[in-house]
């Protein structure tokens, strides 16, 4: 890559990153290509499907619509940052138990949207869940088990859970 591109600094999942890239390069491509964080997916490239959803400075964004220069100084969280080394995020546990993921391609974005929702509203109503996930399309599940997963995670996150680890099968 040409050396004339500026270096953009931000953090991803708590780690500092410096990426030299064309300033209009999509954050989605920077995550996937420059940082090899391929958990974030592209579904439509125009902000309709939400598959590329990540959290940026506490907001949910479509990373296909964010030029990387806009991420200067930002704190970004992707699906790779949800689980800790020892424990799954309550949403990941719930999606696994409730059948919230089928083909899995919308799942990373859906998890980020759900995480955003639960952080702003730890005990959402069904209507609030529907609204909170309305920007994320799933073609497999009909959404019903995704709603159930979010409800289960909301209940789960208030009670301590003996850790099912990321490495368990």
């Amino acid at each position: 890559m040409s050396t004339r591109w500026p270096i953009v600094h931000f953090t991803v999942n708590g780690q500092s990153c410096a990426v030299q890239a064309p300033p209009m390069k999509r954050l989605l491509d920077v995550l996937r290509e420059d940082l090899r964080l391929t958990g974030t997916k592209e579904g439509c490239g125009e902000g309709e499907c939400g598959s590329c959803s990540v959290r940026m400075n506490g907001e949910l964004v479509n990373s296909c619509l964010i030029p990387v220069l806009q991420a200067e100084g930002a704190h970004i969280q992707t699906v790779e940052g949800l689980a800790t080394d020892s424990e799954l995020h309550p949403l990941q546990r719930a999606f696994l138990a409730c059948g919230g993921a089928q083909c899995g391609i919308c799942t990373p974005g859906m998890l980020m949207a759900a995480a955003q929702l639960l952080e702003c509203n730890p005990h959402p109503s069904l209507a609030e869940i529907r609204e909170g996930l309305a920007g994320n399309l799933c073609r497999c599940t009909g959404f019903i088990r995704i709603f159930e997963s979010v409800i289960a995670a909301a209940a789960d996150s208030t009670t301590p859970v003996s850790g099912q680890t990321a490495h368990a099968r």
Partner: protein
Amino acid sequence: MNTNATNRIVGSPVPRKEGMDKLLGRARYVDDIEREGMWHGATVRSSIPRGLIRSVGFDHRIDWTEFTIVTAADIPGNNTIQLIVADQPCLADGMVNHCDEAILLLAHPDKHKLRAAVNAVRVEYEALPPVFTIEESERQNTIVWGADNLLKSFLLEKGDVDSAWARAANIVEGEYRTGAQEHLYIENNGVIAEWSAENGVTVWGSLQCPFYVHRSLLAVFDLPEDKVRVIQTETGGAFGGKEDYPSTLAAHAALLAMKSGHPIKMIYDRMEDLAATTKRHPSRIRHRTALDKDGKLLAMDIDLATDGGAYSTLSSTVLSRATLHSPGPYVCANVRVRSHSWATNTVPYGAFRGFGAPQAIFAIERHMDEIAAAIGLDPIELRRRNFLHDGDTTATEQVMREPVILDKLLVRALRESDYYARRAQFSRDNAGSTIKRGMGIAAFYHGSGFTGSGERYLNSLAGVDVTPEGRVRVLVSSTEFGQGTNTVLTQVAAEAIGIDYADVVMAPPDTGVVPNSGPTVASRTTMVVGRLIERACLQLVGLLQKSAGLNEHYSREEFFAACERHRATRGEVVSLCRYEAPPGIFWDDQKYRGEAYPAFAWSIQVAQVAVDTVTCCAEVEEFWSVQEVGRVINPVLAGGQIEGGIAQGIGYALYEKVLLQNGHMINNQMTNYIMPTAEDVPPIHVFFEEIPFQHGGYGAKGIGELPHDGPAPAILNAIKDATGVSLHAIPLLPEDLFAELAAHERLVEAPLP
């Protein structure tokens, strides 16, 4: 076979086998994979629907020496995609038959340079007259395919239809139309291909049927079987849309790989995927039905036509399934179905969940409500009087040997939905409201597995082996794309052997590793392949008991110890089984008669709909689905299949419209091809009645396609119940409903602000 209640794993909601990888974001889809020295590929496509290619020019502002360019002349073998009839070229050679047909391929190390290059290739055409509709094609004034535009036809006859009309108390006619539907899997089509003189072609891709792609590549490259290898990567939804199309895309990428000497990645963006890949066949179905004075069906005369698009692809088998589902789940002594699939100059229509059945069931189930209205009978009662029962024969004279419990399903659906009470409530409330509510029903079957002799021809092979590390591996080419293949087949193996779910893994879906267990289509995997895995596991246990001293009762540890003793003497621990048709199954291709399917899944669905007569928006408020799919292997996954299918069916009815202009899809974006969102799907209530099917894996029948068959007619029947307006076509978007309500003077003017 073991279907008793003591099963430990079959019937339990074990978590999805590959679920952890998907939730952690580490599942590897094709676009997540990089290969050393990889280039990117792109496609130059036809901008006209039909014509001769006069010249191909290259804009001088592009340095073409940086690119690899592939045309039909570079194809070492046959320039055809192998499916049923080899009429579709891999790359257009002198002529195009639809917009967005592939003409030329480009590859470059930098994918960002490809778009401009594609636009800098100038194709000059001599346009020929195109055909865009079933009506234009069947008129045969312009011939665009073969001698007569006819891709396929069937004649299904039972009894004597023509003599029945004179005896009829009532005759009811109707015409019904369905539109195209896009799969809208969230992961677009994509592959990576490599080529070497030594190893031939290797393809990784998002696909349903590795051996379909394998077979097609053999022909395009004129290579022996061991020089083509196809590996399915994690696949982000398919729904039939990755049944046949990946054969074309894989060939394109592999041709570029061969010529460039580099691995080639080709990932379609959403616009290209929507414009260039298959959709559900549009249909026009006419019913003429004779009834006796008691509302019993005397004769059904059905004329069924589908739009097949520019090449035959899967249109013949889609037409066959549509034909076989068109009389619905009813008894009738005299049935005639004349069905035709017509060529048009659009992208070929292909496989989509249901495979012709949703079109056929939309027509018959809407028609049943029209009949009920015409003869003054309750639509529920009309259906009840005509339902198939055990021992009855279908239109192909297949005797229903397995239990048919439509009455029981109906009773449950009516009770769970509180159908009659809600209807009564709505008929009271509707008069004083601009919002009109109604209830609608659909009753249907879906044939499990390949149609007719299909499963015999497939002759599937599947099984298990045991690795030295002490894992049982399921050996199948049946793929996972969300529907649960990995989970269900490993459950079956763990159950049959008597080991833990965690002891069983899937072998990689790689044609170099696994046998051909047939394509992952037609709701066949759990029933047909599941049964093969069950048999192979029981065969393995028997073998170990004979050869390796395994006792009749054994622990998990004793099983794996016996495997190692067997390995020490035989070298490997493997057990394969080949498909055996259930006894008494015979299909006559010539007469189009006999056992159309080894088993049927049955369902009753009920929709509650609210129609806003001001905005013309129809909304599904609640939905109930009761079904009998044999044994449910995993209740969480099975419920997810039903709910997802219903959501797609709601989209089919009310949201999803493919708009073609000059044969090109013009709303080829998620912005303007609209699917139901989290705010659109209603509460969906799912209920299973289980009757184990003795020839299915642990009693299972097909499930995946069934739920998509019923929502459209149930919803339009509910709209009729709500508004009194009979609607005969889907998709029914607000603008369509506006026109219909206006025509029937049922519109309400918006109150002034």
